[in-house]
Structure formats: structure tokens, C-alpha cells
């Protein structure tokens, strides 16, 4: 049999296998379903998407040219522009795009059951997210590695550029606030988690000093020492937890953790990077890759059964974790893992400086996003291996199910997800917590799921250590995103403020640093505070806002890409980015519409504010809520304005793109393509045509 026939058979087998796995998942209605089906469905989908769709896009729509020198080759300075091995670049790109998002969003979305989230992760990534990452990487590579904001300005004009800049900054504010809230819900009243986290700060600083002064740039040594010390912190946290007098020192309320996170964010943004941010990033990146790898191995080895039903009654919008119907909210809740606009900031500007040949764009752009999407599928599995009753008990806020354990299990069991107080108490004891109720945000339930999987694979007696290892890992790399985001946000703010006041432009000036960091931290701190105080748990407000913001950024990236494809004279292929763009525009707009105008006070910001106003005036609010009611009412109104603003920005960019495309079609003048001129590569002599 020839190689070609064999390969056709193999691909037919993969396609049929994937289709049957997806079909099996969709039709299955039993007690439980094995997680291996999900892994099989996902891997086959990504393989088919990569082999056929990405290859077609590269060949026909983008027409990659492997003889063309990349920015890394042309500006090679051995430092930031360096042509790099494709797998090394893949590693860098994947480490940069894979954050806490694909772990948290899918976990939260499991309140609808496993089916909608899984299908959206698969379809969204293969047709949307992977495509976005790849085309933006390509366009930025053809434009000397320029950033998304610059490309928007060059290709769509000033308005588009301005919208991209403001959009990128606002998403940063909301992202950091919601990540902060997740840390708060994982650490409040958990002396073990809190003391472990506090221990990681001096560890990171020590490694920073080591890699800066003692052994400059010895990344591997430093990280190895650091990770061993982090494990000591996890064990030490357990020791603190068992010591009565020490434990009360680290038993912090949600408000105290929030205050700590804000102060910490400010410190991390103003301290030099080498001291805290950079060393901790090495540690969290190693941990992240290690944990993801371990989770994959464990799932394959253990083949756990998933106990969540395919669909729950909460598709009607009455879910406890966040309110809102399946459409549009599943598409907003799962952004990272399916389509994440934030990736376009990494794919433009950062990765092109490492790319040694255009042909690697397919692996790095499309391939890394497919891998991140697989991480999202693993989060789905980790959430669904829990008893649904336990999943809802951990994730439902006290304002929905009641703050007493008895009341909470009563409500949750009445939904048809049986759970008992004893079961929750035993689980809490086993993982070394006082209580696991109302830890909304995804991180703790994910940690329980991962700890269950790990301890079954690697030894059953260590559930508490595995749980706190998982919490430490999540909190650590959430903090990395939080610090890095605050820093970049500060730079963006300085960039905007310099138009108002010149001295703000100086990145290294101390007053400018403190003022802009303070402003930026205050912005996300405000939303974090609102989330902590919100009686419905905060995730209900902040996560949808974050989802809308992230999809808005994806909308901007896809608009820029669609505009460029049309200007390249390939309008017949504009649907490649145009269809995902249209879908995101529909999803974002309808979600924002509901979040602002829904008459249900648990969904609509305005009706939520109005109801609180009524209750406040009637004096029916509990005293702790009455004390902050006026601020919460204004807060919800600000949220409404923000959601409207997001949609406004998205439509401005889409209309700018359409206007430009129509002008182009009519033969009128438009901004020219800003692609840099062709220069032949010299890295691979075999590709260079022999000179005559």
C-alpha cells in the first residue's frame, strides 16, 4: 500500500473516531460517562482542524511564503529579535497564552451540564480561536512584529486604533479584578492557603536575587531551587494550619484578602521586575506546564467517570453560580479555551520576534491554541468528576443557597443534586479546610477535582497536600497574570496620559510610575471590592463582564484581520475570519443587552440596582448589606455603562472595517496595506534560488 493511501486511511479513521466520540457524548444519557470520550473527541477534532483547515488557510488565504525573511531574521540582535527553533517558540507562545482562563471559565460553565461547554470549546477553538491566533500572528509577522493596536491604526485608521487601545486597557482592568476575586474566594478563611501564598513571596524574591546578582540568568538552577522551596511552603502551610495559635493569624476574611491583593498588586507593579515578577513567573510557568502534563497523564491513566449530567435545568437562566440562559452566556463564560481576544496581544508584537520562518506560523498560531483548548477540556473533566451536589455546594454563593450548611445542602439537594452536610464536612477535613461552602470562582472546585484525580493516581492518603498544591499553583499563576497585567496596564495608561501631561510618558520616572500604578490598581481594585461585597458572590457580575471584554478584543482582532484579507484582494475568503467575527458580535451584543436591560434583577445591572434601591429605602436589607448598598447601587450602574461601552467599541470597529471594505470594493482610496517589503531569507540556503 502506498504511503498516500495509508495516510488517507489514517485521517479517515481519525475523523470518524472524533465524530463518533462527539456523537457519543452528545447522545449519551446515563448515570455517568467516561472522561476518555472527551479526550478522544477533543484530540481528533484538533488533529482534523490542524491537518486540513489550518493547512488550507495557510495555503489559500494567507499564502505563507517560506522564502521570505521574518522580522526575527531581519532585525536579529541576539536579544529580543532572535530566530528561534520552532518548538522552542511554540513553548514560549503556549506558556504566554495559557493562563488561568481556560481552567476557570469551563469550570463555571459546567452549571449548564457538560455538553454545551464541551461543544463550544471544540467548535470555538477550531473555527474561531485558533484561526484568530494564527492570522494575527501572520499579519504581525508581515508587519515587522507590530502590535494589534498599531495594526488597527495602520489598517483601519485612527478610530480603529483608538478603540483597540482602549479595549485592551479595559479588558485588563476587568480581568485583574475577576482574577483577584477568585484568589479571595480561594483564600478567605483558609489559613493553609494564605500562609502558603505568603511563603511564596520571599521564595520568589530570593530566586530573583539569585538570578540577578548571584548567578545571573541561570534560569534552570534558580527555578529548580525555587520549586523545591514552594513545595516546602505547601507542607509548611499544613503545619501552620494544625497549629492553633498560628492558624488564627492567617485566618483572613474576604475583605482582608482583597485588601492584601490590592496592596500586593501595587507593590508588584512598582517594584523592579527582577525582584518579584520575573522570578515568580519562571516558577509559575514551570508549575503550570508540570500540572497540566500531570493532569493529562492522570486522566488517561485513571479514565475517571464524569458524574455531571449532559444538561442541567439551569439552561433556563436560573443557575446558582451565575444567572443567565444558555445562549448567550455559555459563549461568554467560556472565552479562553474557545476564543480569547487577549491572545491577539501576544500573537502580535511578542511571538513574531522569535519566528524563524513563516511556515512555523501554522504550528505556533493554530497549534498552541488547540493545546490550550485541550487544557479547557481537562478543566471540564476535573469539574465533572465531582458529584454534582459537591460541585454546586462549593461554587454556589451564600446569597443564593443560604449561608448555613443545612440550608445550602437542602437547596442544592432539592435541585436534584443530592449532597449532605457530613459529606461536605468530611471533604473539607480531608483537604485541610474548615469549610468548602460558597467558594465561588472555580479555583477551589477545580482544586478538589484535580486533587481527587491526582490522589487516586499517585496515592490516596495525601488529598490535603494535593488540594493545597493545586490551590498554590492556581493562585501563583493568577498572581503572575495579575502583576504582569497591572504593569502592562500601567504602561498603557502612561501612554494615554502623556497626551494630557507630558511627564507621564517617562516609563522610568518614579512619580509617573506611582501615579499611573495607583490609578490603574484603583480601577481594578474598585471592581474587586464590588465583587467581594456583592451578595450574589461577585462572579455573577464580574465574570460575564470579563467574558464580554475578552470577546470584544477578539472582535477587534478579527475585524483587523478581515479588513486586511479584503484589502489583499481575497474577499472571497473573508468568511474565514468574518464568520467568527459575526458570531462574537451577536454573542457579545446579546449578552451585554441582557446584562444591562434584563428585568431579572439577578441578571440585569440596572434592574439589580433598582431592586437594591427599593430594598434599601424599604429597610429590608440585612444590616451588613445596607451599610454598602448605596455604593453597590452606583457600582451596578457603572457596570451597565461599562458593558454598553464595550459593545459600542466593538461596533465602532466593525463599522469602520465594513466602511473601509465597501470603499475598497467601490475602488475608492483606502489606507494601503502596511506589509513590509519582501526580503529573501538567508537562514536556509536550500530555499534560496540559485543566483544566475
Amino acid at each position: 500500500m502506498s504511503k498516500k493511501v495509508l495516510s488517507s486511511f489514517m485521517w479517515i479513521a481519525i475523523a470518524v473516531g472524533g465524530a463518533s466520540a462527539i456523537g457519543g457524548i452528545a447522545i449519551h444519557r446515563g448515570e455517568s460517562i467516561n472522561a476518555i470520550w472527551f479526550v478522544a473527541a477533543a484530540v481528533c477534532t484538533y488533529l482534523v482542524g490542524y491537518r486540513f483547515y489550518s493547512a488550507w488557510i495557510c495555503a489559500r488565504v494567507l499564502t505563507l511564503d517560506e522564502t521570505r525573511a521574518t522580522p526575527a531574521e531581519r532585525f536579529n540582535n541576539g536579544r529580543d529579535f532572535v530566530p528561534t527553533n520552532r518548538w522552542v517558540t511554540f513553548g514560549h507562545h503556549f506558556a504566554a497564552i495559557a493562563g488561568p482562563g481556560p481552567l476557570i471559565g469551563p469550570t463555571l460553565a459546567m452549571q449548564f451540564g457538560y455538553l454545551p461547554g464541551t461543544l463550544w470549546i471544540l467548535a470555538g477553538s477550531v473555527l474561531g480561536g485558533c484561526v484568530q491566533d494564527m492570522v494575527i500572528l501572520f499579519f504581525s509577522t508581515r508587519r515587522d512584529g507590530r502590535s494589534l493596536g498599531q495594526m488597527a491604526r495602520d489598517e483601519l485608521g485612527l478610530i480603529g486604533g483608538w478603540a483597540a487601545m482602549v479595549g485592551a486597557m479595559l479588558i485588563m482592568v476587568i480581568l485583574i479584578a475577576v482574577l483577584g476575586l477568585i484568589i479571595v474566594n480561594a483564600m478567605k478563611h483558609s489559613p493553609w492557603a494564605t500562609s502558603t501564598l505568603l511563603g511564596t513571596i520571599p521564595v520568589a524574591m530570593l530566586i530573583g536575587i539569585y538570578m540577578r546578582g548571584i548567578r545571573p540568568g541561570r534560569v534552570l538552577e534558580g527555578s529548580l531551587i525555587g520549586i523545591s522551596l514552594l513545595l516546602v511552603c505547601v507542607v509548611g502551610g499544613g503545619w501552620v494550619d494544625r497549629n492553633e495559635s498560628l492558624r488564627s493569624l492567617f485566618d483572613w476574611s474576604g475583605e482582608s484578602v482583597a485588601r492584601f491583593v490590592v496592596l500586593y498588586g501595587f507593590a508588584a507593579a512598582t517594584l523592579p521586575v527582577w525582584l518579584l515578577l520575573a522570578p515568580r513567573d519562571y516558577l509559575s510557568t514551570f508549575l503550570k506546564l508540570g500540572v497540566v502534563f500531570m493532569l493529562a497523564i492522570s486522566i488517561l491513566f485513571l479514565a475517571p467517570e464524569m458524574k455531571m449530567p449532559a444538561l442541567t435545568q439551569f439552561v433556563d437562566g436560573s443557575g446558582p453560580i451565575f444567572k443567565g440562559t444558555l445562549f448567550p452566556f455559555v459563549f461568554i463564560t467560556i472565552a479562553c479555551g474557545a476564543v480569547s481576544g487577549f491572545h491577539s496581544l501576544v500573537a502580535s508584537g511578542t511571538t513574531p520576534k522569535l519566528l524563524s520562518n513563516e511556515r512555523d506560523i501554522r504550528l505556533i498560531g493554530y497549534g498552541s491554541m488547540a493545546l490550550e483548548s485541550l487544557v479547557g477540556i481537562m478543566a471540564v473533566i476535573a469539574a465533572c468528576v465531582l458529584d454534582p451536589g459537591v460541585y454546586f455546594a462549593i461554587n454556589s454563593p451564600a446569597g443564593v443557597v443560604g449561608s448555613e450548611a443545612m440550608a445550602a445542602v437542602g437547596t442544592i439537594s432539592s435541585w436534584g443534586f443530592p449532597v449532605s452536610v457530613e459529606q461536605m464536612e468530611m471533604l473539607a477535613r480531608e483537604v485541610g479546610e474548615k469549610t468548602l461552602f460558597a467558594r465561588t470562582g472555580g479555583a477551589p472546585s477545580l482544586a478538589v477535582g484535580m486533587a481527587t484525580i491526582f490522589s487516586s493516581t499517585f496515592g490516596n492518603s495525601l488529598l490535603s497536600l494535593w488540594y493545597h498544591f493545586a490551590i498554590m499553583f492556581e493562585v501563583l499563576f493568577i498572581l503572575t497574570t495579575l502583576d504582569a497585567g497591572t504593569r502592562v496596564g500601567r504602561f498603557m495608561l502612561q501612554d494615554m496620559l502623556k497626551h494630557a501631561w507630558k511627564p507621564m510618558a517617562k516609563l522610568s520616572s518614579y512619580p509617573a510610575t506611582v501615579i499611573s500604578s495607583g490609578l490603574f490598581v484603583a480601577a481594578w481594585g474598585y471592581f474587586l471590592w464590588q465583587g467581594v461585597k456583592d451578595p450574589l458572590g461577585g462572579v455573577n457580575i464580574l465574570w460575564p463582564l470579563f467574558g464580554i471584554a475578552n470577546q470584544l478584543l477578539a472582535g477587534i482582532a478579527l475585524s483587523v484581520a478581515t479588513g486586511i484579507i479584503i484589502k489583499m484582494g481575497r474577499a472571497r475568503f473573508a468568511w474565514v475570519t468574518g464568520v467568527p467575527l459575526a458570531w462574537l458580535a451577536v454573542v457579545c451584543t446579546s449578552a451585554a443587552w441582557e446584562k444591562v436591560l434584563s428585568p431579572n434583577p439577578a441578571i440585569g445591572f440596572l434592574s439589580g440596582a433598582a431592586r437594591m434601591q427599593q430594598q434599601f429605602l424599604a429597610g429590608t436589607l440585612p444590616p451588613d448589606q445596607a451599610a454598602v448598598a448605596p455604593q453597590l447601587i452606583i457600582g451596578q450602574q457603572i457596570d451597565a455603562a461599562l458593558a454598553l461601552f464595550f459593545v459600542f467599541v466593538l461596533w465602532v470597529v466593525i463599522i469602520e472595517m465594513l466602511r473601509m471594505s465597501l470603499r475598497f470594493r467601490a475602488g475608492k482610496s483606502v489606507l494601503p496595506l502596511s506589509e513590509s517589503a519582501y526580503i529573501q531569507t538567508r537562514l536556509e540556503p536550500a530555499l534560496v534560488a540559485p543566483s544566475s
Partner: protein, 74 residues
């Protein structure tokens, strides 16, 4: 020659290339690579032959580059 390859080498070779990959992907060998690039690009005695950066200076600049743009995602 294949016949003379010792059995140990079958193990050593992939381990060695894995170690090189690990050093490169973590940036552990970035400075060595920079010096090699520098030596290549600026031949000694040529007019543009500026002195290469020192190890500490190199890592400082690299770190500042990395953290002044979006290099970590959600």
C-alpha cells in the same frame, strides 16, 4: 559509523538533545547564544564592532523587554 555506536550512546544522545532543548526553551543558554550571534555579526576589527553586553547587563535588558509588553495572558 553505525556499527561502532555504543549502546550507551543511544540513550545519551536523546538525553543530550532534550537537555539542550530545555536550556533553550527556558532561556538558560540565552547569553551563550547572544555571544555566538555577536561574534558572528560583528567580526573583530570591523568598524561596527561594538563590545558585547556583559552577562548581567544582557539579562537585565532581556527582562525589561519581556515585561514591558503583554507576555502573559488570562
Amino acid at each position: 559509523m553505525m556499527r561502532h555506536t555504543k549502546p550507551v550512546m543511544i540513550l545519551v544522545k536523546p538525553l543530550k538533545s532534550f537537555w539542550q532543548f530545555l536550556r533553550q526553551v527556558t532561556g538558560d543558554d540565552a547569553y551563550e547564544r547572544y555571544r555566538a550571534h555577536h561574534a558572528n555579526a560583528h567580526e573583530p576589527g570591523s568598524l561596527c564592532g561594538e563590545a558585547p553586553l556583559g552577562r548581567q547587563q544582557f539579562f537585565k535588558l532581556r527582562q525589561d523587554d519581556k515585561w514591558s509588553k503583554v507576555s502573559r495572558c488570562c
